[in-house]
């Protein structure tokens, strides 16, 4: 009888991820975000037609984990590099995977102008409100009162300036068609994030314009919290500065319930 049992694979390793062990810390959001991107590309059948640009930051080695073509950009320049790629290969899916420092500090100009040109590129924006790779310095997105190694008493608006909401800024531009902010803090939220990434890729493939999905992502190491406390901090504190939800949607797609 057992020979008759038909096994169906219900869960596995996405093909768009290499079977490698990452260097990310326990509780870090990058691994989840990587997996979501990979699952979406698998489901779209786009792995072999995708070119990605990782940032400088914790995800700088993302090309060791993603199982598709990638070129590493200098710090902040991912969207300029991606522009060059997309203009040569308009038929490919081009994505950047960038942290808050890369996207919203050193790369602000490249970010705004690529978005405003309406480059048909999708940016996966990992916002963890801290500089992870360099060891916990203040990020442009560090929230008021949040402690960083370069804001040891906590971020104060007078001394350090205010946190930047780059997603909301980008939404003003006519070049952007879809921007949504999600978080990587629960199964429900993670599923929502995947749907958002899927929609962004779809909008790119339909040639609608620039798309961005911001992911509030835990950094237990530099926040000096347990992974569980980090999730809670996002859900209770970080969302006050960065409320979740669709910031802009001009795709015209009808959402399936």
């Amino acid at each position: 009888m057992s020979a008759e049992v038909a096994y169906q694979k219900v869960f596995g390793y996405p093909e768009s991820l290499k079977p490698a062990q990452t260097h990310y810390c326990p509780g870090c959001g990058h691994s989840i975000a990587h997996r979501l991107v990979a699952e979406c590309l698998d489901e779209l059948g786009m792995r072999e037609k995708t070119i990605g640009v990782p940032p400088v930051g914790c995800a700088v080695l993302a090309y060791n984990y993603f199982n598709f073509d990638m070129v590493e950009a200098p710090h902040g320049r991912a969207l300029a590099v991606a522009t060059g790629i997309k203009r040569v290969h308009p038929d490919k899916l081009v994505l950047t995977y960038q942290g808050d420092g890369d996207l919203a500090a050193i790369g602000t100009a490249e970010t705004i102008h690529a978005a405003n040109r309406g480059e048909k590129i999708t940016t996966i924006f990992i916002n963890n409100a801290i500089y992870g790779m360099t060891g916990g310095q203040m990020a442009p997105t560090t929230t008021l009162g949040q402690v960083a190694t370069t804001a040891p008493g906590g971020r104060e608006p007078e001394r350090h300036g205010r946190p930047i909401d780059i997603s909301r800024m980008l939404a003003v531009s006519d070049g952007t068609v879809y921007i949504e902010r999600c978080s990587l803090t629960s199964v429900k939220n993670i599923r929502k994030a995947k749907k958002a990434i899927m929609k962004a890729f779809r909008a790119q493939l339909d040639g609608l314009g620039f798309t961005l999905v911001e992911l509030l992502s835990p950094c237990p190491t530099n926040w000096k919290m347990t992974p569980k406390a980090a999730w809670e901090w996002i859900d209770t504190e970080m969302v006050k500065t960065y409320p979740l939800g669709v910031i802009k949607d001009n795709t015209g797609y009808e959402d399936k319930k």
């Binding site: 290499k18 792995r47 072999e48 037609k49 995708t50 070119i51 640009v53 700088v60 080695l61 090309y63 060791n64 993603f66 199982n67 598709f68 073509d69 990638m70 070129v71 590493e72 950009a73 200098p74 320049r77 300029a80 590099v81 991606a82 522009t83 060059g84 790629i85 997309k86 203009r87 040569v88 290969h89 490919k92 100009a109 490249e110 705004i112 102008h113 040109r117």
Partner: protein
């Protein structure tokens, strides 16, 4: 078919030659004195199905170049001195990533914002790396006109052959001067050799990654040694230079680019006055024609270096010639262009060793 003879300014010559060399992608940011080049390509590239983007900065434009090069395209950018300084980050990355591109620098007066007059004070920036790390940028310094058109083709070929950024070093004067030019046969980009390292989606092959980050020191050392072997090969095979009336010369004038043309007029003047003078004109500034210059510096000849700077290439002349010949230097910075008569005065002074114009270099 070569083109008909056209009267064109240098900046446009670079643009047209790039298109004919198979370049279909240009990314840049306006800066005087080279704006005619992006302006030209902004209509010329779309005409041949190419892409022109005026980027938000020099930094963004060199990174767009990086993306297009990674995607497999013949691609270029251009700027002038302070703009090239901004592009050095991307140039260093591309050297590390072994990505080809052509960067044209129509030099102006510096340092800092300087001015927009023609100068040649970016020799160190071009030949000594400019960006961080152990790398070299092959640097071509045409003397304008027809040679400018031909060197654009050479630049793209060098870039692709050796997978490296290549610098085309002109100056504001060269960009503005109009001369008749005949362009070589156009190259169809589709006919260029296939590249086996580019990113075009990993269909039917393993994914590729292009990067310059190599965290493991022995592995990065290995990568540097590989790059160095490539640079050694370039130094062995790609040296270019030109000479004028050197056979019987008692004084060798060493100059490149626009300075060499001014110097050549001075050499004609000197010859007319009965002095045997000749020109040694490096066309590749890196690799520098060291050996060739060294061999010429003999039999009591003097070496006179003329630059549109306060003395940068002269250091390569010293490295080449050493103590085999007395070396004299005359340089004018800041965008002031000496006339042939000024250079003639320098050469007279060098011949007489009276120190009235320029100076003798103590090696």
């Amino acid at each position: 078919m070569p083109s008909e003879k056209m009267l064109m300014r240098g900046s446009n010559v670079v643009g047209e030659a790039a298109v004919r060399a198979g370049c279909r992608y240009y990314f840049g940011y306006p800066i005087t004195p080279q704006n005619e080049l992006p302006e030209y390509l902004s209509w010329r590239l779309p005409e041949v199905g190419g892409t022109f983007i005026q980027a938000e900065s020099e930094i963004a434009s060199i990174n767009m170049v990086m993306g297009a090069a990674a995607a497999g395209a013949r691609v270029m950018t251009s700027s002038s001195s302070p703009g090239i300084a901004l592009k050095q980050e991307g140039i260093s990355y591309m050297a590390g990533q072994e990505l080809p591109c052509v960067v044209a620098n129509m030099m102006r007066g510096g340092p800092g914002l300087g001015n927009i007059a023609p100068s040649a004070a970016d020799y160190f920036q071009a030949t000594r790396g400019g960006g961080n790390g152990d790398y070299r940028t092959p640097t071509l310094a045409p003397a304008g006109g027809q040679e400018l058109a031909e060197m654009v083709f050479v630049a793209f070929d060098l870039a692709d052959t050796y997978r490296t950024p290549v610098m085309l070093l002109g100056d504001g004067l060269m960009g503005q001067v109009m001369e008749p030019v005949v362009f070589p046969d156009p190259i169809d980009p589709a006919s260029l050799p296939q590249k086996d390292y580019i990113l075009d989606g990993c269909e039917g092959r393993d994914p590729r990654a292009i990067y310059s980050l190599i965290l493991d020191p022995p592995a990065l050392m290995e990568h540097n040694l590989k790059l160095q072997a490539k640079y050694d090969l370039i130094a062995e095979k790609e040296v270019r230079y030109d000479t004028v009336e050197l056979d019987d010369a008692e004084i060798i004038v060493v100059a490149y680019g626009t300075a060499a043309r001014i110097a050549e007029e001075a050499v004609h003047e000197l010859r007319a006055q009965g002095h045997a003078a000749g020109i040694f004109r490096p066309i590749t500034l890196w690799p520098y024609p060291k050996q060739q210059l060294r061999e010429l510096a003999r039999d009591g000849r003097k070496v006179a270096v003329f630059e549109l700077s306060l003395g940068q290439m002269v250091e390569d002349v010293i490295l080449s010639v050493g103590e085999r010949a007395p070396i004299y230097f005359y340089g004018v910075p800041g965008g002031v262009i000496p006339t042939p008569a000024d250079v003639t005065d320098f050469l007279h002074s060098a011949l007489a060793d009276d120190g009235k114009v320029g100076r003798r270099i103590e090696v």
